[in-house]
């Protein structure tokens, strides 16, 4: 995939998140938002090389994962804004979205829990001899979870084609990771015998090329393998409704990383290659603005499916348990 295309995806994610936060500030997002701003190069670079039949698995900071996987922004927005046409019918909200058609398996809001699920998918691929890899994202904080370790041990022992992308932003909510973990992600993963490639997570080309190596290892049966992408959250961990998020990181750290903004850098590089990035950015903004307008004009989530898809089996009534309601 060429840089313009990667840049276009990053712009779409950036515009999406900025618009979403704006709508949230107006009180129109009922739930929580974990913005992907700052991480754009990771999702876009990591998913650039996946084949269309390979699954991608995300975590709660998932809007970037979904958009990079090809999910349409309209249904994503509507999901988060509680409007008709949401990608999961209003049942998922922001943190647990999925899009089976784009092989975006799911994003899970329980830290670490996506890892064994992705390993299960990878187990299926290996059993089928499909030669496909499975891309799974996690934060640096997720490496604290025992289930991450269990998954990696099993993936190694069974040789699963699990391509792990660790988005190492140095923080886990309000804690700097070194305050709670004795090892950095790459050192830790290597200690567990996992093949690790490190990349500058704010450089989309570097991420894409490093990831293509990781995917090749997995597809060739040499998995699991991991990419550790060093990056940073431009804005903050999360915002609930329109409550103003507290600043929790040193201001100079935040400033330092602003200079390394992944869009800025990709834009400069494009320019150096003779392409003007502005029209791409503008197109993304326009597409998002259009999607926001559409979402805000849409009716609320229709209620007729509120109780559907709990199970497929026809014993809803018997399961109710509230017969005297």
């Amino acid at each position: 995939m060429d840089l313009s295309e990667l840049y276009a995806q990053m712009c779409l994610i950036r515009a999406f998140e900025e618009a979403l936060l704006e709508v949230a500030a107006r009180g129109e997002v009922p739930g929580v938002v974990h913005p992907y701003t700052g991480h754009e190069a990771v999702a876009v670079g990591a998913v650039a090389g996946r084949r269309p039949d390979e699954w991608v698995v995300g975590y709660y900071r998932c809007h970037g994962h979904a958009i990079a996987s090809g999910s349409p922004i309209g249904p994503l927005l509507r999901e988060m804004l509680d409007r008709a046409g949401g990608i999961c019918g209003g049942k998922s909200g922001s943190m647990q979205i999925c899009d089976r058609d784009r092989r975006f398996l799911l994003a899970s809001s329980i830290v670490g829990s996506q890892l064994p699920i992705a390993a299960g998918v990878a187990f299926g691929e290996r059993a089928a001899g499909s030669g496909r890899a499975v891309v799974v994202f996690c934060g640096d904080g997720a490496l604290g979870a025992g289930v991450a370790y269990e998954t990696l041990m099993i993936a190694r022992q069974k040789g699963l084609p699990l391509a792990l992308v660790c988005e190492d932003n140095g923080w886990q909510d309000r804690n700097p990771s070194p305050a709670v973990m004795p090892m950095k992600p790459a050192e830790l993963l290597r200690g567990l015998g996992v093949e690790v490639t490190e990349a500058d997570g704010n450089d989309v080309e570097q991420v894409a090329s490093a990831m293509s190596g990781v995917l090749d290892v997995c597809r060739a049966g040499g998995g699991p393998a991991a990419l550790v992408a060093r990056t940073y959250l431009r804005d903050f961990h999360s915002q609930l409704r329109n409550f103003v998020p507290a600043a929790y990181r040193p201001a100079d750290q935040v400033e330092r990383w602003k200079a390394k903004d992944p869009l800025l850098r990709a834009g400069q590089r494009l320019r150096s290659l003779g392409t003007d990035p502005q029209p791409v950015l503008d197109a993304a903004s326009a597409a998002v603005a259009e999607a926001v307008r559409g979402a805000l004009a849409a009716p609320p989530t229709p209620v007729d499916t509120a109780l559907s898809s709990v199970t497929v089996a026809p014993f809803g009534a018997a399961l109710a348990g509230s017969d005297v309601r």
């Binding site: 999961c88 019918g89 089976r100 390993a119 099993i154 709990v310 348990g321 005297v324």
Partner: protein, 319 residues
């Protein structure tokens, strides 16, 4: 010794469903050779990841059986069951099915102490959409398993250890065959006209013994096996109970927020049983002691059931 019906049913499914996958920390003799290490998968002691892997397999089209060995180990694997397996059909608004079957042994005659002996059916009924099957016998376990192996959504089967003990094949079974048993349909295992004794899992046997004891006192007891805690056959039990003058609901779990208290409420509000005719016999509110001598104090016995039945009938006029 004949082959265990659970194995018969399971092997039949392994043969019929070429992608059916079995994850366990123990091995079934010969399965790796027959089905390959990709379908009979030996796992480290990593129940959380094992269950999560099962979810990933099931979501992408491979029905998976996660054998936890014991319900005691479910508590290290609750998250993928509660937050993943039972959620993704709903969260995805129907994009996914998660045909995951979890096997877990509860207790009975092992006397291994309260960390190892658990009867979590009531807890699990609080997980929306989860099928919680609690077989009472060898055939009941195999028949519920046969249904579970074709069910499109997550199922937990809580098996009593008793059905795996040497001699399992010598006991007479309350289910004549191991044909598939539908979920949500209680089963009358003994007819009777005075009182209805309702059991689940291990307590079905206690109810049958109590019925024998009651018969000697001239009381005719019908015995009902719930078979699944969720879905719960409220109406079926109510219908049966309404033909007798009293009902005794028996559970080896503690009473608070329990299946039997829940069912008891339905029997009363539906008018099937009158308040004075209802008794719930549950475990005392304490962990299950290792000592069988102490267990005899804490857990319900057939004698407790018979006594509760006689007490409930006392002074109740014939209809």
């Amino acid at each position: 010794m004949s082959q265990h019906p659970i194995n018969v049913v399971f092997e039949r499914a392994m043969d019929e469903q070429p992608e059916l996958t079995y994850l366990a920390t123990t091995r079934v003799a010969g399965w790796e050779r027959t089905y390959g290490a990709d379908r009979s998968v030996c796992m480290p002691i990593s129940e959380n990841a094992m269950m999560g892997i099962g979810v990933g397999l099931a979501m992408t089209g491979r029905r998976t059986v996660v054998d936890l060995a014991r319900a005691a180990f479910l508590f290290t694997a609750m998250d993928p069951l509660v937050n993943q397996a039972t959620k993704w059909r709903y969260l995805s608004d129907g994009q996914y099915s998660v045909p995951l079957l979890v096997l877990a042994i509860t207790r009975c005659g092992e006397n291994s102490g309260s960390q190892h002996e658990h009867v979590p059916h009531s807890m699990l009924c609080q997980v929306p959409g989860l099928v919680v099957a609690v077989p009472s016998s060898v055939n009941s376990a195999a028949g519920l398993m046969a249904t579970a192996l074709n069910h499109p959504d997550p199922v937990v089967i809580l098996e009593t250890s008793r059905i795996f003990f040497p001699g399992w094949d010598t006991a007479t079974d309350i289910e004549p065959t191991f044909d598939p048993i539908p979920f949500g349909l209680a089963h009358r295992v003994r007819e009777g006209t005075d009182v209805t004794l309702v059991g689940i899992g291990n307590t079905v046997t206690d109810c049958l013994t109590a019925a024998d004891q009651l018969a000697q006192r001239g009381i005719s007891a019908q015995v009902v096996d719930l078979r699944t805690a969720a879905p719960l056959d409220r109406d079926g039990v109510a219908l049966l109970a309404s033909t007798t003058r009293a009902a005794v609901l028996v559970d080896e779990a503690i009473g608070a927020c329990s299946l039997m208290n829940d069912l008891g409420l339905h029997l009363l509000t539906s008018g099937a049983v009158e308040p004075v005719g209802l008794r719930v016999v549950a475990s005392d509110p304490c962990p299950i002691p290792a000592s069988p001598t102490l267990q005899a104090v804490v857990l319900p016995s057939a004698a407790d059931v018979a006594e509760a039945a006689a007490d409930a009938l006392d002074g109740r006029p014939a209809r």
